[in-house]
């Protein structure tokens, strides 16, 4: 009964909303898009000083600065993307109450909008890699499937969060807390190498840890400890299975809740 149209015919809408969001985010600020680079770079600078000068965490891995920077950039994407997806439906309440289109497009737009920032950050990161002498190689292309995995992980979380947030506004706080815990539970700022081996093996089953370590192995330092290197074969596949399964489950969860959004917002 709903005005059904092919999802593909709405791809223009995803792009329009994502680009508009990105534009509006920096509207009226003098430095504009530079802020989207400035924020993770500043976090990186602070962490770098703290962890190389005071705690000397990085001495156990080569190129710790790059290792840290890549971790911060990928983490920033996961955090921005999931937070953005969570509030996307509620923020677009006026749209949802007044026009019909598949609601899932709003969540997709939010995730795409965060991708724009990630892409800009990765360009800067690549520049730094070249300047630092680590350079880029064919191997660096392995980052692409890892980014897809990270996108799926964020999107899967985003589907659940967006639908839950419509009904329970508590999820903003729950997820902020969850992100903080996950930030320290994942090897974003510290190298996995400093953990006792049995703890590192557990930590490596966390999909975020797996993505970060694989990305570092691809772009920064070949011999970074990865999930495949730490955990025995069939079990080591677990973190790779999480993102696609989460997207599928999240999709069905979201769709089952979407019909009621217009009334609940």
């Amino acid at each position: 009964m709903t005005p059904t149209r092919n999802l593909l015919s709405y791809r223009g809408l995803v792009r329009e909303i994502a680009v508009t969001d990105f534009k509006l985010k920096y509207q009226g600020s003098v430095l504009g898009y530079a802020w989207s680079l400035g924020k993770p770079l500043t976090l990186f600078a602070v962490l770098y000083v703290v962890f190389t000068q005071f705690f000397r965490l990085g001495s156990s891995v080569p190129h710790y600065a790059l290792y840290l920077l890549l971790g911060v950039v990928l983490w920033a994407y996961f955090s921005e993307s999931t937070m953005g997806a969570m509030s996307s439906i509620v923020d677009r309440g006026d749209l949802i109450r007044k026009v019909y289109f598949p609601r899932i497009l709003i969540v997709l737009s939010a995730s795409v909008s965060a991708l724009i920032t990630l892409a800009l950050n990765l360009v800067v990161l690549s520049g730094i890699l070249l300047v630092s002498g680590v350079g880029l190689s064919l191997r660096s292309l392995l980052i692409v499937p890892l980014l897809i995995e990270l996108y799926l992980l964020s999107l899967g979380c985003g589907f659940f969060l967006a639908a839950l947030y419509v009904r329970y506004r508590d999820f903003r706080h729950i997820w902020e807390l969850g992100l903080q815990v996950a930030f320290y539970a994942s090897p974003v700022i510290y190298p996995l190498e400093i953990m006792p081996r049995h703890l590192a093996q557990i930590s490596a089953l966390n999909p975020i840890a797996q993505i970060l370590q694989d990305a570092r192995a691809a772009m920064v330092y070949h011999d970074t400890l990865t999930t495949l290197g730490l955990v025995a074969f069939p079990v080591s596949l677990l973190p790779y299975l999480v993102p696609p399964l989460l997207v599928i489950a999240g999709y069905f969860f979201f769709e089952s809740a979407a019909a009621r959004f217009a009334e609940e917002i």
Partner: protein, 402 residues
């Protein structure tokens, strides 16, 4: 059988029930306990088993009092709400929006908004680009294409919104009160478009309080009353039935003491009663035209907040005759020390003509968006007159022959 096949929209036994939360503020503890259970709700049946058909190529009007279910019906047709029971079958492509300019962003230029709004209505970038000049031309906004929308007047915004909306390639258009805005010349332009659509065999479902345009354009009119379909009639018949229903409601309201009607009450300041006072007579529901009259709002204000009051006077057909509030008048409103406060609005002369009028009363805080209470039909009054002047209001006047 052949009639059913030609129907653009078929609605069968359509019901919509809303579960309205009755408890607004839950304690944190109760909230935790109830977290995965639903909070207490009240059942409200907005639509109670409607059945009707809209024929292809028809200009189909929907009328009914406030809260009769018109907007809910339109939202279900658009796919925004899901029906609780019953079914809606649509043949052809239906416009998915019920309001113009959805998603317009004041920080974007007219050009950017056209693309965004067009995308929301399901148009591709290529389609919008090819019709862009036509859109801007129709809205008469050639000089303002690259200006931000926040600098637009509301009239310009409506023109732009309408211009985009007519490009949405729908066979069935849903229109909710669009024509309440825009100047009369633009309204005529809108109706020209509707006529063109009609000539092209498009179907238009049109909800309005404006009985004149309903009468002028509708082939048939569905009359709603408290979520029930009174029936589908010719425009004249529907309007007559509607006015008759209003009279009945008015009479019922007049006999009820004080006030009745629909009331959405907040937790804070709320209306205790509304009175109309005629000097030398006392409280009344009846006023003679040209007589002085006072309207008194008695407000309970247990939290001693800043309270602004507003009064809107609607004629029984829904026409807003006059509205005023203490906020526009910049009346000094110190925080009331008393738990009860009285706002009095006096009219030195009742200028409205013979008829039944309803008062909508609003109570709000320092910030006008902070609404404590909004009560429709809080009070009903009758105006009588002994002369035979016609029209909405009496205009003090003089004739002179030279």
């Amino acid at each position: 059988m052949s009639v059913a096949a030609a129907a653009a929209v078929t609605v069968r036994d359509l019901s919509k029930v809303f579960m309205i939360p009755t408890e607004r503020h839950m304690s944190l503890k109760r909230h935790m306990l109830n977290f995965f259970r639903s909070s207490p709700t009240r059942r409200f049946e907005a639509l109670a088993g409607l059945s009707f058909e809209v024929q292809a190529g028809e200009f189909f009007g929907i009328i009914g009092h406030n809260g009769s279910g018109k907007s809910t019906l339109l939202k279900i047709l658009a796919g925004i709400y899901q029906p609780t029971r019953g079914r809606v079958d649509v043949r052809g492509r239906l416009s998915p929006f019920i309001e113009l300019g959805v998603g317009f962003n004041p920080e974007l230029t007219a050009r950017e908004n056209v693309f965004l709004n067009g995308a929301i209505l399901g148009l591709s970038r290529v389609q919008i680009a090819s019709q862009f000049d036509e859109i801007i031309g129709f809205g008469e906004l050639e000089e303002f294409v690259d200006q931000k929308l926040k600098n637009f007047s509301s009239g310009m915004m409506v023109r732009l919104a309408f211009a985009v909306a007519v490009q949405a390639h729908a066979d069935i258009l849903l229109i909710d009160e669009v024509l309440a805005v825009g100047d009369s010349e633009f309204q005529r332009k809108c109706f020209d478009v509707f006529r063109r659509f009609k000539a092209e065999g498009k179907t238009i479902v049109f909800v309005s309080h404006d009985l004149a345009s309903i009468k002028e354009f509708s082939d048939r009119v569905l009359l709603l009353d408290h979520g029930n379909a009174v029936g589908t009639f010719s425009a004249d018949h529907a309007i007559a039935r509607y006015q008759q229903l209003n009279e009945e409601r008015a009479n019922a309201a007049l006999t009820r003491a004080g006030r009745g009607g629909e009331r959405t009450s907040g937790q804070r300041a709320h209306l205790v009663r509304v009175e109309m006072i005629k000097d030398g007579v006392g409280t009344t529901h009846l006023v003679h035209r040209s007589d002085p009259v006072r309207i008194r709002l008695v407000v309970a204000n247990p939290e001693r907040l800043v309270v602004n009051g507003g009064v809107a006077i609607h004629r029984s057909d829904g026409l807003l005759c006059f509205a005023t509030n203490t906020f526009i008048e910049e009346l000094a409103r110190p925080e009331s020390g008393a738990a009860e406060l009285v706002l009095e609005l006096s009219f030195p002369q009742m200028l409205l003509q013979r008829g039944t009028y309803r008062l909508t009363i609003g109570l709000f805080g320092q910030d006008p968006t902070r609404v404590y209470e909004m009560t429709e039909a809080a009070f009903e009054l009758q105006v009588t007159q002994s002369d035979t002047y016609e029209g909405v209001m009496f205009m003090p006047h003089q004739w002179r022959a030279t």
